[in-house]
């Protein structure tokens, strides 16, 4: 008992935990947070450690001395905006399954939780509430969403051939895509549907994601300033971040 107590106690020493959150964390939606466990012990490895974060956890079986391992914890964060994961609970039943020892470790992991996307009609997606974004969505292009299926004319690139459909028909079929250079959209959360501010922000979050996928440039009208429409992953994240912090700064 004495020896197992000492060994169990030392099993919770010399460790460090770091959280590596994904780029996008949405309010109320389960997210897999990557937990990295570092073994800073000189002599012994770490065994059977469970890292618990907000009622969920992941178990590390063995972490060699001086090494690190990572696992994922499904976490649901509530409320948009800045959030801080202050501590994490580390438990272990090692070496003998009679007692479970636990320890809290400081994390200080700051993250920004985006408003959860709530589907809303694309028609509203226009600056100032004008419905001018709709018509232009039908223009053909190279990188947008699939607009319709057409017959192969011999001029389309091979990557546009819809092989599955072609197999079922006589001739080759190709995908006709929307133009990626659709007319840019500037979203104003105030003008969007969704009831209260939070509902509108969720709609905005949905639309930002939707337009980003469609390859359409999207911007944001915020109180006192406008983020001009653009495409690309960093831009999307910037918009979502602005939505998350809307009215909080």
């Amino acid at each position: 008992m004495a020896v197992s107590g000492l060994l169990g106690k030392s099993n919770l020493d010399g460790l460090a935990v770091r959280i590596e959150p994904p780029a996008e964390v949405y309010d109320g939606i389960a997210t897999l947070l990557r937990v990295r466990l570092f073994c800073r012990r000189r002599w012994l490895p770490l065994f059977l450690l469970r890292v618990e974060l907000r009622e969920a956890g992941t178990t590390f079986i063995v972490v060699g001395r001086g090494e690190d391992e990572s696992g994922t914890v499904p976490v649901v964060l509530h409320g948009r905006g800045r959030q801080r994961l202050e501590t994490v609970r580390v438990t272990s039943r090692f070496p003998v399954n009679f007692f479970v020892r636990s320890r809290r470790l400081r994390l200080d992991c700051d993250l920004v939780v985006f408003p959860a996307p709530r589907p809303c009609p694309l028609d509203y997606a226009a600056a100032g509430g004008r419905r001018d974004g709709v018509g232009s969505a039908a223009r053909r292009g190279e990188q947008g969403e699939v607009a319709r299926i057409a017959d192969y004319t011999g001029s389309e690139p091979l990557k546009r051939v819809h092989w599955k459909l072609s197999a079922r028909h006589q001739g080759l079929k190709v995908k006709e895509l929307n133009a990626s250079t659709d007319e840019p959209v500037v979203l104003d959360p105030v003008e969007l549907p969704g009831g209260d501010l939070e509902g509108r922000l969720r709609c905005a979050s949905y639309l930002v994601n939707r337009y980003h996928r469609a390859g359409r440039a999207v911007g944001l009208r915020l109180p006192g300033r406008v983020i001009p429409p653009a495409t690309g992953e960093p831009h999307k994240l910037r918009l979502l971040r602005e939505l998350a912090l809307y009215g909080q700064d």
């Binding site: 020896v3 509530h78 939780v113």
Partner: protein
């Protein structure tokens, strides 16, 4: 990939084998049959799980096993049914599908079985089973911990090596602690379970009377009687004295406790120290090298004629130290009446009587009469034998004048009677002659076949030892090569291990603990005296440890109470909130507010209250702060969802 369950199963088989093996010879036939079968099936069941029992059936079988032997239990018959029940339960468990709980039960049953083996035997084999058993069970417990996490868990070879390597630290630590506790824990003077099989180990040895003619063949049994740790001595000095028979009664010699209050004194000679461990026996005479001066470490009655009788139960192993004076002089008690040692049996053969009288007439002094008697023995051409012994109505007459064959009892009895008839006080001394010296252990092993009887004759107020058996025509053969027959190197080694086991474990008692303590104290004193300047480095590790402990104590003592309390508080914070210090520039109070913990808030209030007023904490405050440290984290309100 190594599956944890495979490792665990293998360990379970090893543990079960080690637990049962020492108990196996004492189990009933059905259990002796069931256990190996169960083990085989369990091993086969690893590949073909269909061979294993379902839990329900296993429980039923367990009930049956307990019931079968439980009905046999009585106050006088307890151990056997219990060990059989243990064996059967273990067999059933081996055959059952394994869950985490079943593994634990198996470990426990195997340990019980091993422990139960010490009820029936205190052999050194126990030790050799105990060590691997402890190692295997503890490693098994660690693996069980991984099994509890996920029964299907597999580890790659490197991870498995790490797990096994680290889990070996546990038994290593436990065994060191076991050794430590074995030495210091208090223990009883009596084995706890001794009443269950009283005197089962006692064997008949040296008899308390000598009666030549009672047997026709003397069987030589080589059962150990005692072991005496001492220097190696010349063979002619190896007379181990146990009992003095001073009174002829019919054809036998018996012991009558000397009436003289004053004991016989022993002087001169060379002092020989012996550490004697006597095997469990029925008689209570304590052997020691002739002539014993005193016995230490055992409660024994000195009967005056250098015979010591223990009052302890003779059916347990006994250890004591004897101081003897080899070649010393045994002075008879001043008030002894020589007539006490001249008494003759009522019926004595006429030829023996006549021979004694003739010696008495011819020899003028005691020394002359002894010389005449010895001459007569040589002249009679007697031979030492242990078979075809005289068994007539007067065996001594037949021995001296007809068959002329006999063993020590014949020689000693007739020698003493002839001397008494001639008017020289004489008595018989029973004990052992010789013994095998074990150079490995530095002790004599004396077995039953070394039992011997010789004669003591009173000459000028001193008792002289005479061994008439040496006057036999074949004494050279009988006492030379035959008696000194040594043990082979292997037998010596095995006996030495057995001896040390008994010496250091079985007979280790309160007395030995004190002795160890005193020896330790003596050792330290000696060290101080004998330490040469060149050897100072030997003290370095101990010195460093002492210095470390001293530094820690000094630091603890130097830290003011407030500092110690703050340290404890920070440790509690670390435990519950994962933080020690507040954020930069954050005082105790701000930190408490942020943590939203009433215990922290109160702690900060009291602590800062004293700190800012530059006064020391009162006793009540100190107590309250200690309580609050214990309460940190308990009254903490759950964090409100962020946002």
């Amino acid at each position: 990939m190594v599956r944890i369950s495979t490792l665990l199963n293998t360990l379970v088989w090893v543990v079960a084998f080690l637990g049962v093996a020492p108990l196996y010879p004492y189990l009933g036939r059905p259990v002796q049959f069931a256990l190996p079968l169960a083990l085989l099936l369990a091993v086969a069941g690893e590949r073909r799980p269909a061979l294993l029992l379902r839990p329900g059936l296993a429980t039923l079988l367990s009930f049956f096993a307990v019931g079968l032997y439980a009905i046999q239990i009585s106050r006088s018959y307890l151990v056997e049914p219990v060990i059989n029940i243990l064996g059967l339960l273990l067999a059933v468990r081996l055959l059952t599908e394994k869950s985490g709980r079943n593994y634990l039960q198996l470990f426990l049953l195997s340990l019980f079985a091993l422990a139960a083996s010490s009820l029936v035997s205190l052999s050194v084999a126990f030790f050799f089973f105990l060590i691997p058993e402890v190692v295997a069970v503890i490693v098994g417990l660690v693996l069980l911990c991984f099994h509890a996490e996920d029964p299907g868990l597999g580890l790659d070879r490197a991870a498995a090596r790490r797990v096994l390597g680290t889990s070996l630290l546990l038994p290593a630590g436990s065994l060191i602690l076991m050794l430590f506790f074995f030495v210091i824990l208090p223990r009883t003077q009596q084995p706890l379970w001794n009443f269950l099989n009283p005197a089962a180990a006692a064997v008949a040895g040296l008899s308390e009377s000598v009666e030549p003619g009672s047997v026709s063949n003397l069987a030589a049994v080589r059962t150990p009687v005692f072991r005496a740790e001492s220097e190696e001595l010349p063979p002619e000095q190896l007379y181990w004295r146990a009992i003095v028979l001073n009174r002829p009664q019919g054809r036998a010699w018996v012991r009558q406790v000397p009436k003289v209050a004053e004991p016989e004194r022993v002087s001169g000679g060379r002092a020989v120290l012996q550490k004697i461990v006597v095997e469990p026996r029925r008689e209570r005479f304590l052997p020691a090298l002739d002539i014993p001066r005193e016995l230490v470490g055992v409660r024994a009655r000195d009967e005056g004629d250098r015979v010591f009788i223990t009052s302890r139960r003779p059916d347990q192993r006994l250890a004591y130290t004897a101081v003897s004076l080899a070649g010393g002089e045994l002075r008879a008690a001043a008030k002894v009446r020589p007539g006490d040692y001249l008494e003759l049996p009522a019926e004595l053969s006429p030829r023996l009587r006549a021979a004694g009288e003739r010696i008495g007439r011819t020899g003028k002094t005691a020394a002359e009469r002894i010389a005449l008697t010895r001459a007569l023995f040589v002249e009679l051409k007697l031979s030492y034998a242990t078979s075809d012994l005289p068994r007539s109505a007067d065996p001594l007459d037949e021995f001296l004048f007809v068959g002329k064959r006999g063993y020590c009892e014949y020689f000693a009895s007739s020698f003493a009677l002839l001397l008494r008839q001639a008017g020289v006080p004489a008595r018989l001394v029973g004990g052992y002659l010789g013994g095998t010296y074990n150079r490995l252990g530095g002790y004599y092993l004396v077995t039953d076949d070394k039992a011997h009887v010789w004669v003591e004759v009173l000459v000028d107020g001193s008792w002289q030892r005479h061994d008439p058996s040496r006057l036999a025509g074949n004494a050279g053969i009988a006492f030379g090569a035959g008696r000194q027959q040594g043990l082979s190197a292997v037998a010596q080694f095995v006996d030495a291990i057995d001896y040390y086991w008994n010496q250091s474990v079985i007979t280790f008692d309160l007395g030995s603990q004190f002795e160890l303590l005193q020896r330790g104290r003596g050792g330290v004193q000696k060290l101080r005296l004998e330490l040469r300047p060149g050897r100072v480095w030997l003290l370095l590790p101990g010195g460093l440890m002492l210095a470390g402990a001293g530094w820690w104590l000094w630091r603890w003592w130097r830290t003011p109470i407030a500092g110690r309390l703050l340290k404890g508080y920070r440790r509690a914070l670390q435990r519950h909130y994962g933080e020690e210090e507040g954020k930069e520039g954050e005082g105790l109070e701000t930190q408490a507010l942020r943590l939203d913990d009433p215990a922290c808030a109160e702690f900060a209030e009291i602590f800062d209250g004293a700190l800012y007023r530059d006064r020391t904490l009162t006793r009540e405050e100190q107590q309250r702060l200690r309580v609050l440290i214990g309460e940190v984290g308990q009254g903490h309100r759950q964090e409100a969802p962020g946002g």
